[in-house]
Symmetry: none
Amino acid sequence: MSRPVAVAPDTRPNMHEAMARAVTTGGATLVDTADAEGLIWADPGRPEAFPEVIATTTRLEWIQLPYAGIEPFAHHLNDRWTWTCGKGVYAPAVAETVLAMILSGQKHLHGYARASSWSGPVGRVLANSRVTVLGGGGITAHLLPLLAPFECDVTVIRRSDEPFLGADRTIPVTRLHEVLPLTDVLVLALALTDETVGIISAAELTALPEHAWLVNVARGGHVVTDDLVAALAAGSIAGAALDVTNPEPLPDGHPLWSAANCLITPHIANTPEMGLELLEPFVAENVRRFCVGEQLLAPVNVALGY
Amino acid sequence: MSRPVAVAPDTRPNMHEAMARAVTTGGATLVDTADAEGLIWADPGRPEAFPEVIATTTRLEWIQLPYAGIEPFAHHLNDRWTWTCGKGVYAPAVAETVLAMILSGQKHLHGYARASSWSGPVGRVLANSRVTVLGGGGITAHLLPLLAPFECDVTVIRRSDEPFLGADRTIPVTRLHEVLPLTDVLVLALALTDETVGIISAAELTALPEHAWLVNVARGGHVVTDDLVAALAAGSIAGAALDVTNPEPLPDGHPLWSAANCLITPHIANTPEMGLELLEPFVAENVRRFCVGEQLLAPVNVALGY
Protein backbone atom coordinates (compact mmCIF):
# COMPACT_ATOMS: atom_id res chain seq x y z
CA MET A 1 0.00 0.00 0.00
CA SER A 2 1.35 3.42 -0.94
CA ARG A 3 1.20 6.11 1.74
CA PRO A 4 1.81 9.88 1.51
CA VAL A 5 5.31 10.91 2.63
CA ALA A 6 6.93 14.38 2.51
CA VAL A 7 10.57 15.47 2.39
CA ALA A 8 11.49 18.73 4.14
CA PRO A 9 13.07 21.21 4.42
CA ASP A 10 14.34 21.89 0.89
CA THR A 11 17.40 23.86 2.00
CA ARG A 12 19.87 21.14 0.88
CA PRO A 13 18.96 20.37 -2.72
CA ASN A 14 21.16 17.23 -3.04
CA MET A 15 19.73 15.70 0.07
CA HIS A 16 16.17 16.68 -0.78
CA GLU A 17 16.55 15.01 -4.14
CA ALA A 18 18.04 11.80 -2.66
CA MET A 19 15.35 11.55 0.01
CA ALA A 20 12.61 12.20 -2.55
CA ARG A 21 14.03 9.31 -4.57
CA ALA A 22 14.02 7.15 -1.44
CA VAL A 23 10.33 7.94 -0.87
CA THR A 24 9.46 6.82 -4.38
CA THR A 25 11.77 3.79 -4.30
CA GLY A 26 10.22 2.76 -1.00
CA GLY A 27 6.80 2.71 -2.63
CA ALA A 28 5.29 5.83 -1.04
CA THR A 29 3.76 8.85 -2.76
CA LEU A 30 5.73 12.08 -2.46
CA VAL A 31 3.44 14.82 -1.11
CA ASP A 32 3.59 18.22 0.58
CA THR A 33 3.89 18.24 4.36
CA ALA A 34 0.22 19.23 4.73
CA ASP A 35 -0.85 15.84 3.31
CA ALA A 36 1.99 13.75 4.72
CA GLU A 37 1.64 10.76 7.05
CA GLY A 38 5.41 10.35 7.03
CA LEU A 39 8.12 13.07 7.02
CA ILE A 40 11.76 12.65 6.01
CA TRP A 41 13.90 15.41 7.56
CA ALA A 42 16.31 16.49 4.83
CA ASP A 43 18.70 19.00 6.38
CA PRO A 44 20.77 17.87 9.38
CA GLY A 45 22.06 21.42 9.78
CA ARG A 46 18.65 23.05 10.33
CA PRO A 47 16.84 21.56 13.34
CA GLU A 48 15.58 25.08 14.13
CA ALA A 49 13.35 24.92 11.03
CA PHE A 50 11.41 22.02 12.53
CA PRO A 51 8.53 23.90 14.31
CA GLU A 52 7.65 25.82 11.15
CA VAL A 53 7.62 22.70 8.96
CA ILE A 54 5.70 20.64 11.48
CA ALA A 55 3.04 23.36 11.89
CA THR A 56 1.81 22.59 8.37
CA THR A 57 1.23 18.89 9.01
CA THR A 58 -2.20 17.49 9.90
CA ARG A 59 -1.98 13.72 9.41
CA LEU A 60 1.62 13.04 10.49
CA GLU A 61 2.50 9.70 12.12
CA TRP A 62 6.22 9.14 11.50
CA ILE A 63 9.36 11.28 11.33
CA GLN A 64 12.66 9.98 9.90
CA LEU A 65 15.71 11.95 11.09
CA PRO A 66 19.00 11.81 9.15
CA TYR A 67 21.32 11.63 12.19
CA ALA A 68 23.25 8.77 13.75
CA GLY A 69 23.28 10.72 17.03
CA ILE A 70 20.15 12.86 17.36
CA GLU A 71 21.32 15.39 19.98
CA PRO A 72 20.56 18.38 17.69
CA PHE A 73 16.91 17.28 17.56
CA ALA A 74 16.54 16.01 21.12
CA HIS A 75 14.50 19.00 22.35
CA HIS A 76 11.93 18.48 19.58
CA LEU A 77 11.21 14.82 20.47
CA ASN A 78 7.70 14.01 21.69
CA ASP A 79 5.22 11.17 21.93
CA ARG A 80 2.83 12.47 19.27
CA TRP A 81 4.80 10.75 16.49
CA THR A 82 6.96 7.73 15.86
CA TRP A 83 10.59 8.82 15.39
CA THR A 84 13.40 6.98 13.60
CA CYS A 85 17.00 8.08 12.99
CA GLY A 86 20.16 7.08 11.06
CA LYS A 87 21.69 4.98 13.85
CA GLY A 88 24.18 2.52 12.32
CA VAL A 89 23.71 3.83 8.79
CA TYR A 90 27.12 5.48 8.54
CA ALA A 91 29.20 2.75 10.19
CA PRO A 92 30.15 1.09 6.86
CA ALA A 93 31.64 4.38 5.60
CA VAL A 94 33.58 4.93 8.81
CA ALA A 95 34.88 1.35 8.71
CA GLU A 96 36.21 1.98 5.19
CA THR A 97 38.03 5.07 6.44
CA VAL A 98 39.57 3.05 9.27
CA LEU A 99 40.98 0.50 6.82
CA ALA A 100 42.16 3.33 4.55
CA MET A 101 44.01 4.86 7.50
CA ILE A 102 45.49 1.55 8.63
CA LEU A 103 46.79 0.73 5.15
CA SER A 104 48.02 4.28 4.60
CA GLY A 105 50.08 3.96 7.74
CA GLN A 106 51.48 0.54 6.84
CA LYS A 107 52.42 1.67 3.32
CA HIS A 108 53.71 5.13 4.40
CA LEU A 109 51.29 6.83 1.98
CA HIS A 110 51.04 9.97 4.15
CA GLY A 111 54.80 10.39 3.83
CA TYR A 112 54.91 9.71 0.11
CA ALA A 113 51.98 12.10 -0.45
CA ARG A 114 54.12 14.88 1.01
CA ALA A 115 57.20 14.07 -1.09
CA SER A 116 58.21 15.86 -4.26
CA SER A 117 61.13 13.60 -5.04
CA TRP A 118 61.67 9.86 -5.61
CA SER A 119 62.65 8.29 -2.30
CA GLY A 120 63.43 4.96 -0.73
CA PRO A 121 61.21 2.04 0.21
CA VAL A 122 59.26 2.19 3.46
CA GLY A 123 56.35 -0.02 4.36
CA ARG A 124 55.07 -3.09 6.10
CA VAL A 125 52.72 -5.90 5.19
CA LEU A 126 49.40 -5.67 7.04
CA ALA A 127 48.63 -9.38 6.64
CA ASN A 128 48.94 -11.27 9.92
CA SER A 129 49.36 -8.09 11.97
CA ARG A 130 47.89 -7.74 15.45
CA VAL A 131 45.01 -5.26 15.41
CA THR A 132 43.37 -4.08 18.64
CA VAL A 133 40.02 -2.29 18.40
CA LEU A 134 38.73 -0.31 21.37
CA GLY A 135 34.94 -0.38 21.13
CA GLY A 136 32.46 -3.04 20.11
CA GLY A 137 29.84 -1.06 18.21
CA GLY A 138 28.74 -0.65 14.61
CA ILE A 139 32.07 0.62 13.30
CA THR A 140 33.88 -2.42 14.69
CA ALA A 141 31.18 -4.72 13.34
CA HIS A 142 31.74 -3.29 9.86
CA LEU A 143 35.54 -3.07 10.17
CA LEU A 144 36.23 -6.71 11.05
CA PRO A 145 34.84 -8.12 7.78
CA LEU A 146 37.01 -5.65 5.84
CA LEU A 147 40.04 -6.84 7.82
CA ALA A 148 39.17 -10.53 7.52
CA PRO A 149 41.08 -11.21 4.25
CA PHE A 150 44.28 -9.88 5.88
CA GLU A 151 44.08 -12.66 8.46
CA CYS A 152 45.06 -10.29 11.24
CA ASP A 153 44.97 -11.31 14.86
CA VAL A 154 42.11 -9.12 16.11
CA THR A 155 41.41 -8.20 19.73
CA VAL A 156 38.25 -6.27 20.55
CA ILE A 157 38.25 -4.39 23.85
CA ARG A 158 34.87 -3.45 25.26
CA ARG A 159 33.17 -2.95 28.59
CA SER A 160 32.18 -6.60 28.85
CA ASP A 161 34.14 -9.62 27.61
CA GLU A 162 31.15 -10.91 25.62
CA PRO A 163 32.58 -12.38 22.38
CA PHE A 164 32.51 -10.11 19.33
CA LEU A 165 31.83 -11.72 15.95
CA GLY A 166 34.99 -11.83 13.84
CA ALA A 167 37.39 -11.05 16.69
CA ASP A 168 40.02 -13.58 17.75
CA ARG A 169 39.35 -12.53 21.34
CA THR A 170 37.25 -10.04 23.26
CA ILE A 171 38.53 -8.66 26.54
CA PRO A 172 37.24 -6.07 29.00
CA VAL A 173 38.73 -2.60 29.06
CA THR A 174 40.23 -3.31 32.49
CA ARG A 175 42.80 -5.51 30.71
CA LEU A 176 43.78 -2.89 28.09
CA HIS A 177 47.37 -2.71 29.32
CA GLU A 178 47.93 -6.43 28.78
CA VAL A 179 47.13 -6.08 25.10
CA LEU A 180 48.93 -2.84 24.21
CA PRO A 181 52.48 -4.32 23.99
CA LEU A 182 51.10 -6.98 21.60
CA THR A 183 49.40 -4.46 19.29
CA ASP A 184 50.64 -3.44 15.84
CA VAL A 185 47.61 -1.23 15.07
CA LEU A 186 45.35 0.32 17.74
CA VAL A 187 41.96 1.52 16.51
CA LEU A 188 39.72 3.77 18.64
CA ALA A 189 36.05 3.24 17.77
CA LEU A 190 34.30 3.63 21.10
CA ALA A 191 31.78 6.08 22.55
CA LEU A 192 33.02 9.08 24.51
CA THR A 193 31.84 8.83 28.11
CA ASP A 194 33.19 9.98 31.45
CA GLU A 195 35.07 6.67 31.67
CA THR A 196 36.70 6.88 28.24
CA VAL A 197 37.85 10.52 28.18
CA GLY A 198 41.65 10.46 27.92
CA ILE A 199 41.75 6.66 27.80
CA ILE A 200 44.87 6.91 25.61
CA SER A 201 47.52 8.93 27.43
CA ALA A 202 51.28 8.71 27.91
CA ALA A 203 51.12 5.39 29.79
CA GLU A 204 49.13 3.68 27.01
CA LEU A 205 51.25 5.17 24.21
CA THR A 206 54.44 4.04 25.96
CA ALA A 207 53.04 0.52 26.30
CA LEU A 208 52.60 0.20 22.51
CA PRO A 209 55.50 -1.15 20.40
CA GLU A 210 57.60 1.42 18.51
CA HIS A 211 56.23 0.23 15.17
CA ALA A 212 52.59 0.62 16.29
CA TRP A 213 50.06 2.95 14.66
CA LEU A 214 47.15 4.66 16.37
CA VAL A 215 43.94 5.23 14.38
CA ASN A 216 41.21 7.37 15.94
CA VAL A 217 37.77 7.66 14.30
CA ALA A 218 35.87 7.99 17.58
CA ARG A 219 36.24 11.32 19.39
CA GLY A 220 39.29 13.53 19.92
CA GLY A 221 38.71 13.46 23.67
CA HIS A 222 39.72 9.80 23.90
CA VAL A 223 43.36 10.81 23.39
CA VAL A 224 45.43 13.16 25.55
CA THR A 225 46.69 15.28 22.67
CA ASP A 226 49.87 16.57 24.31
CA ASP A 227 50.89 13.01 25.19
CA LEU A 228 50.34 11.95 21.58
CA VAL A 229 52.40 14.87 20.28
CA ALA A 230 55.21 13.83 22.64
CA ALA A 231 54.99 10.13 21.64
CA LEU A 232 55.11 10.98 17.93
CA ALA A 233 58.06 13.34 18.42
CA ALA A 234 59.93 10.74 20.49
CA GLY A 235 59.16 7.93 18.04
CA SER A 236 57.70 5.82 20.82
CA ILE A 237 54.99 4.86 18.30
CA ALA A 238 55.36 4.80 14.50
CA GLY A 239 52.46 7.09 13.68
CA ALA A 240 48.89 8.23 14.14
CA ALA A 241 45.96 8.67 11.77
CA LEU A 242 43.32 10.92 13.29
CA ASP A 243 39.89 11.70 11.90
CA VAL A 244 39.01 13.44 15.16
CA THR A 245 41.14 15.70 17.31
CA ASN A 246 41.06 17.59 20.58
CA PRO A 247 40.67 20.49 20.11
CA GLU A 248 38.53 20.10 16.99
CA PRO A 249 38.86 21.62 14.50
CA LEU A 250 42.59 21.37 15.06
CA PRO A 251 43.88 24.97 15.00
CA ASP A 252 46.40 26.12 12.42
CA GLY A 253 49.96 25.79 13.66
CA HIS A 254 49.16 22.94 16.06
CA PRO A 255 52.20 20.61 16.33
CA LEU A 256 50.17 17.65 14.98
CA TRP A 257 49.93 19.41 11.61
CA SER A 258 53.70 19.31 11.21
CA ALA A 259 54.37 15.85 12.69
CA ALA A 260 55.92 13.75 9.91
CA ASN A 261 54.25 10.59 11.19
CA CYS A 262 50.74 11.95 11.62
CA LEU A 263 47.87 11.95 9.13
CA ILE A 264 44.92 14.19 10.00
CA THR A 265 41.60 14.05 8.21
CA PRO A 266 38.98 16.65 9.15
CA HIS A 267 36.28 14.40 10.63
CA ILE A 268 35.43 12.98 7.23
CA ALA A 269 35.05 9.29 8.08
CA ASN A 270 31.68 9.82 6.55
CA THR A 271 31.14 12.87 4.37
CA PRO A 272 27.69 14.30 3.54
CA GLU A 273 28.10 12.77 0.06
CA MET A 274 28.92 9.31 1.44
CA GLY A 275 26.23 9.75 4.02
CA LEU A 276 23.58 10.38 1.42
CA GLU A 277 24.60 7.30 -0.55
CA LEU A 278 24.11 5.20 2.57
CA LEU A 279 21.08 7.04 3.89
CA GLU A 280 19.09 6.84 0.67
CA PRO A 281 18.64 3.03 0.55
CA PHE A 282 18.14 2.98 4.32
CA VAL A 283 15.34 5.54 4.15
CA ALA A 284 13.84 3.75 1.15
CA GLU A 285 13.68 0.60 3.26
CA ASN A 286 12.05 2.45 6.16
CA VAL A 287 9.54 4.03 3.74
CA ARG A 288 8.73 0.55 2.44
CA ARG A 289 8.22 -0.71 5.98
CA PHE A 290 6.04 2.30 6.79
CA CYS A 291 3.85 1.60 3.76
CA VAL A 292 3.35 -2.08 4.55
CA GLY A 293 3.17 -1.67 8.31
CA GLU A 294 6.39 -3.49 9.23
CA GLN A 295 8.55 -2.52 12.22
CA LEU A 296 10.71 0.53 11.37
CA LEU A 297 14.54 0.45 11.53
CA ALA A 298 16.50 2.61 14.01
CA PRO A 299 13.61 3.71 16.22
CA VAL A 300 14.30 6.58 18.63
CA ASN A 301 13.38 5.96 22.25
CA VAL A 302 11.72 9.28 23.06
CA ALA A 303 11.96 8.76 26.83
CA LEU A 304 15.70 8.00 26.72
CA GLY A 305 16.38 10.60 24.05
CA TYR A 306 18.38 8.35 21.66
CA MET B 1 68.01 -36.20 -5.74
CA SER B 2 70.30 -33.27 -5.04
CA ARG B 3 71.41 -31.28 -8.07
CA PRO B 4 74.11 -28.60 -8.42
CA VAL B 5 72.71 -25.04 -8.29
CA ALA B 6 74.61 -21.74 -8.30
CA VAL B 7 73.67 -18.28 -7.01
CA ALA B 8 75.06 -15.30 -8.94
CA PRO B 9 76.08 -12.53 -9.08
CA ASP B 10 77.26 -11.79 -5.54
CA THR B 11 76.82 -8.03 -5.79
CA ARG B 12 73.88 -7.91 -3.32
CA PRO B 13 75.10 -9.71 -0.20
CA ASN B 14 71.68 -9.89 1.53
CA MET B 15 70.06 -11.39 -1.49
CA HIS B 16 72.94 -13.75 -2.26
CA GLU B 17 72.75 -15.06 1.28
CA ALA B 18 68.97 -15.55 1.17
CA MET B 19 69.12 -17.31 -2.22
CA ALA B 20 72.01 -19.53 -1.08
CA ARG B 21 69.84 -20.52 1.89
CA ALA B 22 66.98 -21.25 -0.51
CA VAL B 23 69.23 -23.55 -2.58
CA THR B 24 70.18 -25.55 0.49
CA THR B 25 66.66 -25.56 1.92
CA GLY B 26 65.37 -26.80 -1.42
CA GLY B 27 67.71 -29.78 -1.26
CA ALA B 28 70.25 -28.80 -3.92
CA THR B 29 74.01 -28.49 -3.61
CA LEU B 30 75.38 -24.95 -3.80
CA VAL B 31 78.11 -24.84 -6.48
CA ASP B 32 79.98 -22.38 -8.69
CA THR B 33 78.38 -21.43 -11.99
CA ALA B 34 80.85 -23.61 -13.93
CA ASP B 35 79.32 -26.73 -12.35
CA ALA B 36 75.74 -25.53 -12.08
CA GLU B 37 72.70 -27.16 -13.67
CA GLY B 38 70.53 -24.49 -12.11
CA LEU B 39 71.26 -20.77 -11.64
CA ILE B 40 69.51 -18.39 -9.25
CA TRP B 41 69.97 -14.79 -10.41
CA ALA B 42 70.61 -12.77 -7.25
CA ASP B 43 70.79 -9.13 -8.29
CA PRO B 44 67.72 -7.62 -9.97
CA GLY B 45 69.67 -4.43 -10.61
CA ARG B 46 72.43 -6.01 -12.71
CA PRO B 47 71.05 -7.74 -15.81
CA GLU B 48 74.09 -6.48 -17.74
CA ALA B 49 76.27 -8.89 -15.77
CA PHE B 50 74.40 -11.84 -17.27
CA PRO B 51 76.59 -12.60 -20.36
CA GLU B 52 79.74 -12.75 -18.27
CA VAL B 53 78.18 -15.05 -15.65
CA ILE B 54 76.57 -17.29 -18.24
CA ALA B 55 79.83 -17.64 -20.20
CA THR B 56 81.25 -19.70 -17.36
CA THR B 57 78.41 -22.27 -17.38
CA THR B 58 78.68 -25.58 -19.19
CA ARG B 59 75.84 -27.77 -17.88
CA LEU B 60 73.13 -25.20 -17.29
CA GLU B 61 69.48 -26.21 -17.70
CA TRP B 62 67.46 -23.79 -15.58
CA ILE B 63 67.62 -20.09 -14.71
CA GLN B 64 65.52 -18.60 -11.88
CA LEU B 65 65.08 -14.83 -12.22
CA PRO B 66 64.10 -12.76 -9.18
CA TYR B 67 61.66 -10.50 -11.04
CA ALA B 68 57.90 -10.44 -11.22
CA GLY B 69 58.21 -8.56 -14.52
CA ILE B 70 61.26 -9.67 -16.45
CA GLU B 71 61.70 -6.81 -18.97
CA PRO B 72 65.23 -6.02 -17.73
CA PHE B 73 66.16 -9.54 -18.78
CA ALA B 74 63.94 -9.87 -21.85
CA HIS B 75 66.79 -9.47 -24.38
CA HIS B 76 68.71 -12.32 -22.72
CA LEU B 77 65.84 -14.83 -23.02
CA ASN B 78 66.40 -17.81 -25.29
CA ASP B 79 65.37 -21.40 -25.84
CA ARG B 80 68.62 -22.97 -24.63
CA TRP B 81 67.42 -22.98 -21.02
CA THR B 82 64.27 -23.23 -18.97
CA TRP B 83 63.49 -19.86 -17.40
CA THR B 84 61.41 -19.14 -14.34
CA CYS B 85 60.76 -15.82 -12.65
CA GLY B 86 59.19 -14.35 -9.51
CA LYS B 87 55.74 -14.00 -11.07
CA GLY B 88 53.16 -14.00 -8.30
CA VAL B 89 55.70 -14.07 -5.47
CA TYR B 90 55.27 -10.43 -4.55
CA ALA B 91 51.57 -10.39 -5.36
CA PRO B 92 50.23 -10.46 -1.76
CA ALA B 93 52.28 -7.39 -0.81
CA VAL B 94 51.40 -5.58 -4.04
CA ALA B 95 47.70 -6.36 -3.64
CA GLU B 96 47.75 -4.68 -0.22
CA THR B 97 49.32 -1.60 -1.76
CA VAL B 98 46.66 -1.55 -4.48
CA LEU B 99 43.87 -1.53 -1.89
CA ALA B 100 45.76 1.11 0.12
CA MET B 101 45.94 3.28 -3.00
CA ILE B 102 42.30 2.71 -3.95
CA LEU B 103 41.08 3.63 -0.46
CA SER B 104 43.47 6.57 -0.21
CA GLY B 105 41.99 7.93 -3.43
CA GLN B 106 38.37 7.39 -2.36
CA LYS B 107 38.99 9.02 1.03
CA HIS B 108 41.20 11.85 -0.34
CA LEU B 109 44.02 10.88 2.06
CA HIS B 110 46.72 12.15 -0.32
CA GLY B 111 45.09 15.59 -0.18
CA TYR B 112 44.60 15.60 3.56
CA ALA B 113 48.19 14.42 4.08
CA ARG B 114 49.35 17.59 2.32
CA ALA B 115 47.11 19.94 4.32
CA SER B 116 48.20 21.99 7.34
CA SER B 117 44.77 23.32 8.11
CA TRP B 118 41.33 21.86 8.90
CA SER B 119 39.37 21.61 5.65
CA GLY B 120 36.08 20.40 4.26
CA PRO B 121 34.77 16.92 3.62
CA VAL B 122 35.85 15.07 0.46
CA GLY B 123 35.50 11.39 -0.15
CA ARG B 124 33.50 8.54 -1.58
CA VAL B 125 32.39 5.13 -0.38
CA LEU B 126 34.25 2.28 -2.06
CA ALA B 127 31.53 -0.28 -1.35
CA ASN B 128 29.59 -1.25 -4.47
CA SER B 129 31.95 0.66 -6.75
CA ARG B 130 32.83 -0.63 -10.18
CA VAL B 131 36.45 -1.76 -10.22
CA THR B 132 38.15 -2.74 -13.46
CA VAL B 133 41.44 -4.61 -13.25
CA LEU B 134 43.65 -4.85 -16.31
CA GLY B 135 45.57 -8.08 -15.97
CA GLY B 136 44.65 -11.50 -14.69
CA GLY B 137 47.80 -12.52 -12.85
CA GLY B 138 48.90 -12.98 -9.27
CA ILE B 139 48.26 -9.40 -8.15
CA THR B 140 44.68 -9.61 -9.34
CA ALA B 141 44.27 -13.02 -7.73
CA HIS B 142 45.39 -11.56 -4.40
CA LEU B 143 43.54 -8.26 -4.81
CA LEU B 144 40.07 -9.66 -5.43
CA PRO B 145 39.79 -11.35 -2.00
CA LEU B 146 40.82 -8.07 -0.34
CA LEU B 147 38.11 -6.27 -2.34
CA ALA B 148 35.48 -8.94 -1.72
CA PRO B 149 34.04 -7.44 1.51
CA PHE B 150 33.41 -4.16 -0.36
CA GLU B 151 31.03 -5.97 -2.71
CA CYS B 152 32.40 -4.09 -5.69
CA ASP B 153 31.37 -4.93 -9.21
CA VAL B 154 34.68 -6.29 -10.52
CA THR B 155 35.63 -6.63 -14.17
CA VAL B 156 38.89 -8.35 -15.05
CA ILE B 157 40.33 -7.59 -18.46
CA ARG B 158 42.81 -10.05 -19.85
CA ARG B 159 43.93 -11.43 -23.17
CA SER B 160 41.34 -14.21 -23.09
CA ASP B 161 37.84 -14.08 -21.67
CA GLU B 162 38.45 -17.15 -19.52
CA PRO B 163 36.61 -16.48 -16.20
CA PHE B 164 38.72 -15.15 -13.34
CA LEU B 165 37.90 -16.35 -9.83
CA GLY B 166 36.22 -13.59 -7.82
CA ALA B 167 35.50 -11.34 -10.80
CA ASP B 168 31.92 -10.52 -11.76
CA ARG B 169 32.98 -10.77 -15.39
CA THR B 170 36.09 -11.37 -17.43
CA ILE B 171 36.44 -9.79 -20.84
CA PRO B 172 39.18 -9.69 -23.45
CA VAL B 173 41.35 -6.61 -23.82
CA THR B 174 39.82 -5.93 -27.22
CA ARG B 175 36.69 -4.77 -25.38
CA LEU B 176 38.51 -2.40 -22.98
CA HIS B 177 36.71 0.65 -24.34
CA GLU B 178 33.28 -0.79 -23.56
CA VAL B 179 34.18 -1.04 -19.88
CA LEU B 180 36.02 2.25 -19.29
CA PRO B 181 32.92 4.48 -19.09
CA LEU B 182 31.50 2.09 -16.46
CA THR B 183 34.62 2.13 -14.29
CA ASP B 184 35.01 3.95 -10.97
CA VAL B 185 38.50 2.60 -10.26
CA LEU B 186 40.87 1.33 -12.95
CA VAL B 187 43.75 -0.84 -11.70
CA LEU B 188 46.70 -1.68 -13.92
CA ALA B 189 48.22 -5.01 -12.91
CA LEU B 190 49.31 -6.50 -16.22
CA ALA B 191 52.61 -7.43 -17.78
CA LEU B 192 54.44 -4.92 -19.96
CA THR B 193 54.72 -6.26 -23.49
CA ASP B 194 54.82 -4.72 -26.97
CA GLU B 195 51.01 -4.88 -26.99
CA THR B 196 50.50 -3.21 -23.62
CA VAL B 197 52.99 -0.33 -23.85
CA GLY B 198 50.94 2.85 -23.71
CA ILE B 199 47.66 0.94 -23.32
CA ILE B 200 46.35 3.86 -21.26
CA SER B 201 46.59 7.03 -23.32
CA ALA B 202 44.39 10.07 -23.91
CA ALA B 203 41.60 8.05 -25.53
CA GLU B 204 41.29 5.66 -22.57
CA LEU B 205 41.57 8.43 -19.95
CA THR B 206 38.85 10.41 -21.72
CA ALA B 207 36.60 7.35 -21.77
CA LEU B 208 36.74 7.07 -17.96
CA PRO B 209 34.16 8.98 -15.87
CA GLU B 210 35.32 12.21 -14.25
CA HIS B 211 35.18 10.66 -10.78
CA ALA B 212 37.40 7.72 -11.79
CA TRP B 213 40.76 6.92 -10.24
CA LEU B 214 43.67 5.22 -11.98
CA VAL B 215 45.92 2.95 -9.90
CA ASN B 216 49.11 1.67 -11.54
CA VAL B 217 51.22 -0.97 -9.81
CA ALA B 218 52.35 -2.64 -13.03
CA ARG B 219 54.84 -0.66 -15.10
CA GLY B 220 55.13 3.03 -15.88
CA GLY B 221 55.22 2.25 -19.59
CA HIS B 222 51.57 1.15 -19.59
CA VAL B 223 50.52 4.79 -19.27
CA VAL B 224 51.35 7.62 -21.67
CA THR B 225 52.62 9.99 -19.02
CA ASP B 226 51.96 13.24 -20.86
CA ASP B 227 48.36 12.18 -21.50
CA LEU B 228 47.92 11.41 -17.81
CA VAL B 229 49.37 14.77 -16.81
CA ALA B 230 46.88 16.44 -19.17
CA ALA B 231 43.93 14.39 -17.90
CA LEU B 232 44.75 15.19 -14.27
CA ALA B 233 45.16 18.89 -15.04
CA ALA B 234 41.88 18.97 -16.97
CA GLY B 235 40.04 17.00 -14.32
CA SER B 236 38.90 14.44 -16.87
CA ILE B 237 39.63 11.83 -14.18
CA ALA B 238 39.56 12.38 -10.42
CA GLY B 239 43.05 11.18 -9.66
CA ALA B 240 45.88 8.74 -10.06
CA ALA B 241 47.91 6.66 -7.63
CA LEU B 242 51.13 5.50 -9.22
CA ASP B 243 53.67 3.09 -7.78
CA VAL B 244 55.44 3.05 -11.14
CA THR B 245 56.13 5.90 -13.53
CA ASN B 246 57.64 6.60 -16.91
CA PRO B 247 60.31 7.82 -16.67
CA GLU B 248 61.24 6.00 -13.47
CA PRO B 249 62.50 7.24 -11.10
CA LEU B 250 60.30 10.25 -11.77
CA PRO B 251 62.68 13.23 -12.02
CA ASP B 252 62.44 16.15 -9.61
CA GLY B 253 60.22 18.92 -10.93
CA HIS B 254 58.10 16.58 -13.10
CA PRO B 255 54.50 17.90 -13.30
CA LEU B 256 53.14 14.72 -11.65
CA TRP B 257 54.91 15.68 -8.41
CA SER B 258 52.85 18.84 -8.15
CA ALA B 259 49.51 17.47 -9.38
CA ALA B 260 47.03 17.88 -6.51
CA ASN B 261 45.18 14.72 -7.50
CA CYS B 262 48.19 12.43 -7.90
CA LEU B 263 49.81 10.17 -5.31
CA ILE B 264 53.21 8.79 -6.24
CA THR B 265 54.95 6.02 -4.33
CA PRO B 266 58.49 5.12 -5.39
CA HIS B 267 57.93 1.55 -6.64
CA ILE B 268 57.37 0.29 -3.11
CA ALA B 269 54.38 -1.99 -3.64
CA ASN B 270 56.81 -4.52 -2.36
CA THR B 271 59.91 -3.32 -0.58
CA PRO B 272 63.18 -5.30 -0.77
CA GLU B 273 62.59 -6.36 2.83
CA MET B 274 59.11 -7.69 2.05
CA GLY B 275 60.38 -9.09 -1.28
CA LEU B 276 63.23 -11.22 0.00
CA GLU B 277 61.01 -12.61 2.72
CA LEU B 278 58.55 -13.72 0.06
CA LEU B 279 61.15 -14.79 -2.56
CA GLU B 280 63.26 -17.06 -0.38
CA PRO B 281 60.63 -19.74 0.34
CA PHE B 282 59.43 -19.52 -3.26
CA VAL B 283 62.91 -20.16 -4.68
CA ALA B 284 63.46 -22.97 -2.18
CA GLU B 285 60.31 -24.62 -3.51
CA ASN B 286 61.44 -24.24 -7.13
CA VAL B 287 64.86 -25.68 -6.23
CA ARG B 288 63.10 -28.65 -4.64
CA ARG B 289 61.00 -29.15 -7.76
CA PHE B 290 64.10 -28.88 -9.97
CA CYS B 291 65.86 -31.56 -7.90
CA VAL B 292 62.97 -34.02 -8.03
CA GLY B 293 61.90 -33.21 -11.57
CA GLU B 294 58.53 -31.66 -10.81
CA GLN B 295 57.02 -28.87 -12.89
CA LEU B 296 58.62 -25.52 -11.95
CA LEU B 297 56.59 -22.58 -10.66
CA ALA B 298 56.36 -19.29 -12.60
CA PRO B 299 57.78 -20.47 -15.94
CA VAL B 300 58.69 -17.73 -18.41
CA ASN B 301 57.16 -18.08 -21.85
CA VAL B 302 60.19 -17.16 -23.94
CA ALA B 303 58.06 -16.51 -27.04
CA LEU B 304 55.66 -14.15 -25.22
CA GLY B 305 58.43 -12.55 -23.18
CA TYR B 306 56.80 -12.93 -19.75
